[in-house]
């Protein structure tokens, strides 16, 4: 787990990190090779820009090809509107304020569900990782609930909550609970027992041991859980909003379907993609800050 390739944001963080400690490797017994001299910084910066943008080249080419095919009449506008038409729909929705209204509603739901479900999952993960008693009494129940697809609860949730906010909050919280729970539990359980023994031998109290050793040791795994949870969060929210909502991006897409506005449907789908990417980038930035000690997040050495 946790072997992501370095992306542009991390690469940039590394560059500044290296700059902050000039000559750190100048001591004769340093185990690392000396860093390249400063004169290479211009090509390095170019390489940095290239790395930052590389991921966007393919989507851009796809959009260009799509636009060209639409204009040539190969793709019919009733099936798949041209990117320019979608952009126009986006512009109109933005001007009327509907788009931002819907995005804000969806984002608030997603975040609320993530916070509620994530917090519960985190607490259970920590408790069951640290306490054998807690694990014995709750893990079986949690594992059974986990194996019920939470989207299967939608009919029940509608019966309980109607199509109000509670329904979405409940579903999203339930969805994000398990990835966070499982990965937190795994993280706590796989903290190096040598380090825990060291902490005990050095007289750490249980609280100190938790704060200094167990929690930081579990953090990489908790982040994996968070990223899984973000995916589940969007999925759940979109399904819930599509089936039962009066606002939000899912609702916007369903309205587009009812009025045969394919461009609005496409707009909603593209916004999902962008928001998903945004959430991922934010998580990685957070990882870069919290896990800067981790060898995976340190400057690659030539």
């Amino acid at each position: 787990m946790q072997q992501q390739t370095l992306d542009a944001a991390q690469a940039a963080a590394f560059a500044t990190d290296a700059a902050r400690r000039p000559g750190a490797s100048a001591t004769p017994d340093a185990p690392v090779a000396a860093r390249p001299p400063q004169t290479q910084s211009a090509p390095r910066r170019m390489a940095g820009i290239e790395r930052r943008l590389a991921g966007w080249i393919l989507p851009l080419l796809l959009i260009l090809a799509w636009e060209a095919l639409s204009r040539a009449g190969v793709i019919h506008g009733n099936v798949l509107p041209a990117p320019s038409a979608i952009a126009l729909a986006g512009w109109q929705a933005a001007r009327s304020g509907d788009l931002f209204q819907n995005m804000a509603v969806s984002a608030a739901r997603a975040l609320a569900g993530l916070i509620v479900g994530g917090a519960i999952g985190f607490v259970f993960g920590i408790a069951n990782g640290v306490s054998e008693l807690s694990h014995r009494y709750t893990d079986t129940t949690l594992q059974m609930i986990r194996n019920v697809p939470h989207l299967a609860l939608i009919p029940l949730v509608i019966l309980w909550f109607g199509i109000d906010e509670e329904a979405k909050l409940f579903l999203v919280a339930l969805g994000v609970f398990f990835p966070i729970y499982i990965n937190t539990l795994h993280g706590v359980r796989t903290v190096d027992p040598h380090l825990i023994e060291m902490g005990r031998a050095y007289g750490m109290t249980p609280v100190t041991l938790f704060v200094r050793v167990i929690l930081p040791g579990a953090l990489p795994s908790i982040f994996v859980g968070l990223r899984f949870a973000l995916g589940v969060m969007w999925l759940t929210l979109i399904v819930a909003e599509t089936i039962a909502a009066q606002s939000g991006l899912g609702h916007m897409a369903m309205q587009g379907r009812e009025f045969l506005q394919v461009d609005v449907v496409m707009l909603a789908i593209l916004i999902y993609a962008l928001l998903g990417k945004l959430a991922d980038v934010l998580t990685r930035l957070l990882e870069g800050v919290c896990l800067s000690w981790h060898p995976n997040f340190q400057p690659a050495r030539s």
Partner: protein, 259 residues
């Protein structure tokens, strides 16, 4: 866990204030047996370690020498008998075979892990820095442990053990994973610091040459008992490969392999 030792042993006590220069405390095993399941790993072991002594415990793997050290560290308790450490509140620190540094803390913060809880922040930082200086790594204080070499990591672990000014330092094959040259370097460092600070040191090792390079006294543990108890009163600082230390090594190896 360790018991308080009988009052007459208090003569060995360390200095009255905790901040005064650390000195060694005595330690004693009284008929210690430790069983894992049915098999005794330590079998009625008696051992008296005077204050300030540098004791090496050698033996084949599985002879119980690490268990012996864990009893002193309070990480394990005897099934029978008692382990006693002198002093009112003896500060015991352990160095493991692996450095066991916290990867998410920088080098200086890792050394601060070894500080007693009551030390305030500024003083702790200063003490940690001077401990790092003592092991020759003051310039690496701001690094992550992952960029250090194996020998450097073990030196940080030594600084972490020393920063609390221990009265009893336990060394569980701390140099076992190092290359030969780094190992000699570390042996010299440990000897020098021990001479300066005068704590009691117990070194567990499978390397007989290392034992004779460092110790005042070498104990051979076999089947959970002391099989050989050998003084090594050689002058310090020691030269490696002297005839006297070679003679001591030969005696231990003879005992081990019954030649």
């Amino acid at each position: 866990m360790s018991l308080a030792i009988a009052p007459q042993r208090r003569a060995f006590d360390s200095a009255p204030t905790p901040l005064a220069e650390a000195r060694g405390v005595p330690a004693r095993f009284i008929g210690v047996t430790r069983r894992f399941g049915q098999t005794p790993v330590l079998d009625g072991l008696d051992l008296d370690i005077p204050a300030g002594q540098f004791l090496a415990v050698v033996g084949e793997s599985g002879c119980g020498k690490s268990t012996l050290l864990r009893q002193l560290a309070g990480l394990d308790a005897p099934s029978e008998g008692a382990v006693a450490i002198g002093g009112a509140e003896p500060v015991t620190r352990m160095m493991f075979q692996e450095p066991r540094l916290l990867p998410w803390r920088r080098v200086l913060a890792n050394v601060e892990v070894g500080l007693p809880a009551r030390v305030n922040k500024a003083e702790g930082r200063e003490r940690a820095l001077s401990a790092l200086k003592a092991v020759g790594l003051a310039d690496r204080a701001g690094e992550w442990p992952s960029v250090l070499s194996g020998g450097q990591k073990q030196r940080v672990a030594l600084a972490r053990a020393l920063v609390s000014r221990p009265q009893l330092l336990l060394l569980d094959e701390p140099l076992g994973a190092l290359d030969a040259l780094t190992r000699i370097d570390m042996q010299r460092l440990i000897e020098r610091i021990w001479l300066e600070q005068g704590f009691t040191a117990v070194l567990v090792t499978h390397d007989v040459a290392e034992a004779s390079a460092l110790a005042d006294r070498i104990v051979l543990v076999d089947s959970g008992k002391v099989a050989l108890d050998l003084p090594a009163p050689l002058p310090r600082p020691r030269r490696r490969g002297s005839p006297e230390s070679a003679a001591i090594e030969a005696r231990i190896l003879d005992q081990l392999f019954g030649a």
